[in-house]
Symmetry: C2
């Protein structure tokens, strides 16, 4: 599991972990119906507490990215072919808007923002 936690980051550990798991799913390194490591083993791997990993998993479950099967484990949900749910779409837009506004304030124009976005997408999908 190629995950790197920065304990001193201002981003909470469970968020770092959830983000990196999402990235691994987006790149295809982790595929639908794959089992995630148990909270205990991943916690030991990363040198963090079991509850911290557990929290990350539940964040991913809230977002419908994984399914937690009680007393058994967590598996990755298939990428929806219908696209995101309303809830998922709202969340994306909610978080995307301030970032884009910030980019504009930094002097980026539409083309530049789209170009950066495009390159990040390529980085993930072709990385």
């Amino acid at each position: 599991m190629f995950i790197q936690i920065e304990p001193t980051s201002e981003i909470p550990i469970y968020t770092q972990l959830a983000n990196q798991l999402i990235e691994l799913i987006a790149t295809g390194t982790l595929k639908a119906s794959d089992a995630l490591p148990s909270v205990r083993s991943l916690a030991a791997d990363l040198g963090v507490n079991m509850h911290t990993v557990n929290k990350a998993y539940h964040e991913l479950e809230k977002k419908k990215i994984i399914e937690i099967i009680p007393k058994s484990g967590a598996i990755i949900n298939p990428i929806s072919s219908n696209g995101p749910s309303d809830m998922q779409m709202d969340l994306i837009k909610l978080h995307l808007k301030p970032l884009i506004a910030e980019s504009i304030v930094y002097g980026l124009d539409k083309e530049q923002i789209l170009s950066i976005t495009s390159s990040i997408i390529s980085e993930i999908t072709e990385g």
Copy 2:
């Protein structure tokens, strides 16, 4: 000052405030060299504490979006014609990447992500 704070949001008040100020700058409602309201008056307007507004202003100063002149006030910096600094660009990419990865996991493809991005940009720049 058209700012709406949701006290029960999981997003901290000072972040909500900073984000909305950024949006007002991005839309052109607030322009370069405009003075921001004093921390005391804006705090009174919004019904929050002076220190909360002060923290939002300092967040914006860290991002070089405004300049705080000690014992005097805060003014909005001009939008850079050189585009973002390296620090600003790194911050944007750092926050953009997990969002894009999440979008991909939700089943959005490159075109759809660029389309959403484009529509948000238009929403901001064309009111």
